[in-house]
């Protein structure tokens, strides 16, 4: 039967080639779309988590706006102990994020002041890799600095009083590496903390938001500036595998269960808009897939119906010779399966080649410029295969081919031999 079905498929070579080509290129288009969306999604997550969010954060339980944790954690070392003991954690570091004002004689600009432990932060985010001038703090910069508040105390060391900022912000403040700026922020006691920081590094991420609104200072200096000795407002962790975020979050929450003032958050909780974007893209992709599958189904249906009408008499002969109705139905279904299989194989081949090409040479995407306003994001996307999705799409094409063949198969099976033999 397989031999007969296979030969029947190639009986009208041109029509079958058109059908399998439409199947194949439809699948290749689906694969391209899947790869593009999944690559963008993966890059969004990588860039968001790699730039600032990290994979997991531990914050005070009362905090609702996870992006701006405004409550401090007492005794962060208990969290550090839990993070240190978990095998899924690759790196972690304490942080304080606070809004502040950066001033020079030229003017003042509002900024998000990110106080970090530079040595640890290097292992968590990629900001150190964006430095264009100076450095991302020097070794030992995380040592305690000095609070130069209204009391006007001067910094203890230069390294500890360093500040790193984006090129655009430095430009607005007319600040160069080696020059000083004053950072002001409201301290926990309600007073206004202010300190002079020497610009030690400039970065350029390509993101307007990052390059003009974020400054980095050492954590110890920030703690003194804000009068929060030994406190932080979140602890960030990088995982060995970001896909394990939910599991590690759950386990850490269990480990820290006794600490009722803490909450463990994954990047999905903090950058929930990215999850929303992913859901929107997945939804869009599903609609596109449904449309493509519908076109595929109509193509197969058309081919099989044409083939059926051309071969009514032949089906009559087969039935006269002794083929049962179920056998005739099976023959039509196998023909459809052959078309589906060839189309899927062609699609997987062409789709893989396209993905491999754009994986090697990159795809210039204007979308990258739009996204990079909010976070560092490349304007050239290097496609990555999403094999599970691609194979799923290939199986769907085969399944759709099969389902589309049900109606013609039923019709063939219901033919009455005497009537079929009279068919001209």
């Amino acid at each position: 039967m397989l031999r007969l079905a296979w030969r029947n498929v190639w009986r009208n070579r041109r029509r079958s080639l058109i059908t399998v080509s439409s199947l194949g290129f439809g699948l290749a288009a689906i694969m391209f779309g899947q790869s593009l969306i999944k690559t963008l999604q993966a890059q969004l997550v990588e860039k968001a988590t790699g730039s600032i969010t990290g994979h997991l954060q531990v914050q005070h339980r009362s905090i609702k706006d996870y992006k701006f944790p405004d409550r401090y954690l007492e005794r962060p070392e208990r969290v550090e102990a839990a993070l240190r003991g978990h095998p899924g954690i690759a790196a972690y570091g304490k942080r304080i994020h606070v809004t502040g004002l950066v001033s020079t004689p030229v003017g003042s600009v509002g900024a998000l002041v990110c106080a970090v432990e530079p040595d640890k932060e290097r292992r968590i985010t990629t900001m150190a890799g964006h430095i264009t001038r100076g450095s991302y703090f020097e070794e030992g910069a995380c040592r305690k600095g000095g609070r130069s508040s209204e009391r006007g105390r001067s910094p203890s060391t230069e390294g500890a009083r360093g500040i790193v900022m984006g090129e655009k912000l430095a430009q607005r403040l007319d600040l160069r590496v080696g020059e000083k700026a004053v950072v002001m922020a409201q301290a926990s006691d309600g007073s206004m903390g202010a300190g002079a920081f020497k610009l030690v590094g400039l970065y350029r991420t390509g993101s307007t938001a990052f390059d003009s609104q974020l400054v980095y200072i050492p954590l110890a200096a920030a703690q003194e500036l804000l009068a929060v000795e030994g406190k932080v407002n979140h602890i960030v962790a990088k995982l060995r595998d970001v896909r394990e975020a939910d599991r590690v979050k759950r386990e850490l929450a269990e480990n820290l269960g006794a600490e009722r003032d803490l909450q463990v958050l994954s990047w999905k909780d903090i950058d929930h808009e990215i999850v929303g974007i992913q859901r929107y893209q997945d939804g869009l992709l599903t609609v596109v897939l449904a449309v493509v599958f519908l076109i595929v189904a109509l193509g197969i249906l058309n081919t099989l119906l044409m083939s059926l009408f051309e071969r009514v008499r032949e089906f009559g002969v087969l039935m006269a010779v002794g083929a049962r109705p179920a056998w005739v139905m099976k023959l039509v279904l196998i023909e459809a399966a052959c078309l589906g299989f060839i189309g899927s194989a062609l699609g997987l081949g062409v789709g893989s080649a396209i993905i491999a090409y754009y994986g090697r040479w990159g795809l210039a995407l204007p979308l990258g410029d739009a996204i990079s306003y909010f976070m560092p994001f490349p304007s050239v996307v290097f496609l990555r295969p999403a094999w599970a999705s691609h194979l799923g799409a290939g199986l769907c094409v085969m399944a759709v081919s099969f389902l589309a063949a049900l109606a013609p198969a039923l019709r063939a099976g219901r033919l009455r031999p005497a009537e079929a033999l009279r068919h001209v």
Partner: protein, 224 residues
Amino acid sequence: MSEPLIEVRGVSKVYDGNSKVAAVNSLSLEFHAGEFSAIAGPSGSGKTTLLNIIGTLDRPTHGEVRYEGRRVSHLSREEAANFRLRSLGFVFQAYNLIPVLTAVENVEYPLVLQGAPKGERRSRALETLAWVGLEQFASRRPDHLSGGQQQRVAVARSIVHRPMVVLADEPTANLDSKTAASLLDLMEALNRERGVTFLFSSHDSAVLSRARRTVHMRDGKLMP
């Protein structure tokens, strides 16, 4: 006299269109094993309808058909297919070979449907092709065979599974007289030497003269 192989009892076939048309009308007759018989009549006389009913390709509106006493005219579609597969062979006017299969593959197809082992069905198909003198054309597809050769392949296909009877609907209608005579020679030889029962329809007097028994039909009825 032996029991009849085929009994047709009071068979009618009425087609419901704008008006009811009786293609076959209250017809009864019998055929015995080993016969080489013809159903004669002009176009529209009901020959093909009668052969279709005898061959379980169509159901009678009234009456019944029996083979060796077994009622087959009201079998389900599946049962009728099984019956045809085991017991009947068909030869059609337009040859009706499967164009994508070679001559030997066409001949072995009933055996494929029967589930015969590959080696056995191929050897039987080749042997049957040899009976009809076409063993050297075994690997040719129908479009590379003449009309007469195609009809010989069709005859080989109809007998390869050793049916009780071969039903041939105007088997020579598309052939020239020489080729038609040659095909009838073959059918006669198969009947005489291998005991194949043939029941065929025709309106050609030259063909009908070869039958050992002829029943005449007109307007769906038997003529005396």
